[in-house]
Subunit: 192 residues, 2 copies
DNA sequence: TATAGTACAGACAGGTCTGTATACCCGTCA
DNA sequence: TGACGGGTATACAGACCTGTCTGTACTATA
């Protein structure tokens, strides 16, 4: 009987890692499975045992990226004592990351660009990721005492995605670093 | 000798129009030339006479989109009497457009997502488009009396691209409409 | 030692991609 | 009348795509 293969096999990890880097750097449609196989040093059948299709691989990669995002968030932002400080630290983090040489923008936005149909499985993972961020921003805004927490959260998410967009559009020397300053200005205005 | 074919032939227009809609709605890599030919009712050789390669077609489409953008800008924003009003009207326009059902985000950002290399010809067209917007925003900010025109312009561009991103990510019912309000808040703070 | 699980190696099927080649059609204008 | 510019129609080359198939090798454990 063919049950689900070990969840944390080394080959599976290797595939996800390699595929993720290629997808992120070159795009989802631009990278074929042959390339992923060649660069991860894994047999084709191994890939297709772990991931029934390329789409499944993309979904798995995005879910992993989402987990990674929240892990970094937990390390870098969550420990701060007040909601206000957490909001500000989040945008310091985004600014720092968005201008770093390795940053090529937001992989979820890239996916939504390449798979525009809202029904696409990977697009749905991307939507859920952004919705979770929006919700977190709203929680923080509320806790920080914003008059209109939803409004502040939505404005801040616009800035954040603008920064990721700038990073992919212009490369490391972009204006994305401006995001921290702009976010703090919106926060200052929204929280009396 | 292979002369340049008429610039404004009907077939050429038809190809650009059809290809543009397909590229915008489904993505650049997702749409093949066969599809463009079928839907524009044009022979393959005609397409390749007007555009030596698909990349050339993409570049031509983006340049056309850029011209279209500035035409709309000239009609809707330019006539306003003051720089401040022009800035605000620009973001009213973006907000309105970004939540409209036909809007699927920014085609230049989609292109940069699909062709991340900064050297890619189409990516360069996209960069020039965004740089022109940034420059226009800086001019308007300066004329409106901002203390730091460059800073305001960069912050505003983050918001604008965030709105386009939201439109493609979430569809018509997104938070992109928040962009006008957020922009006006930044403008109010930056211009005494 | 026997067996099950996992992965590798590589060929292959069937389809799609971009781009080219060839032959034909038809209105315009010299 | 006849050349020619612009377009049509269609076949084709060759690369690349996803996904499948067969067969082999290694390893852990019963």
């Amino acid at each position: 009987m063919n049950r689900a293969i070990r969840e944390n096999s080394p080959a599976r990890e290797q595939i996800l890692e390699t595929a993720g880097q290629l997808f992120y750097r070159e795009g989802f449609r631009a990278v074929g499975v042959d390339r992923i196989i060649a660069e991860s040093g894994v047999a084709k059948m191994t890939l297709y045992k772990h991931f029934p299709s390329k789409d499944d691989l993309i979904v798995a990669y995005l879910e992993r990226s989402n987990q990674h995002f929240w892990k970094l968030y937990a390390e870098r932002v969550e420990p701060l004592p007040t909601a206000r400080k957490r909001l500000e630290a989040l945008f310091d983090w985004v600014a720092e990351r968005a201008v770093s040489p390795a940053c090529l923008g937001c992989t979820f936005s890239v996916n939504a660009a390449e798979f525009p149909s809202l029904d696409s499985p990977s697009h749905q993972v991307a939507i859920r990721h952004k919705q979770a961020i929006l919700q977190k921003l709203e929680e923080l805004s509320l806790e920080a005492g914003a008059k209109d927490p939803r409004g502040l959260a939505e404005s801040l998410l616009l800035l954040m995605d603008g920064a990721w967009n700038a990073a992919r559009m212009f490369g490391p020397g972009s204006h994305a670093g401006r995001v921290a300053e702009a976010a703090k200005m919106l926060i200052r205005q929204a929280i009396p």
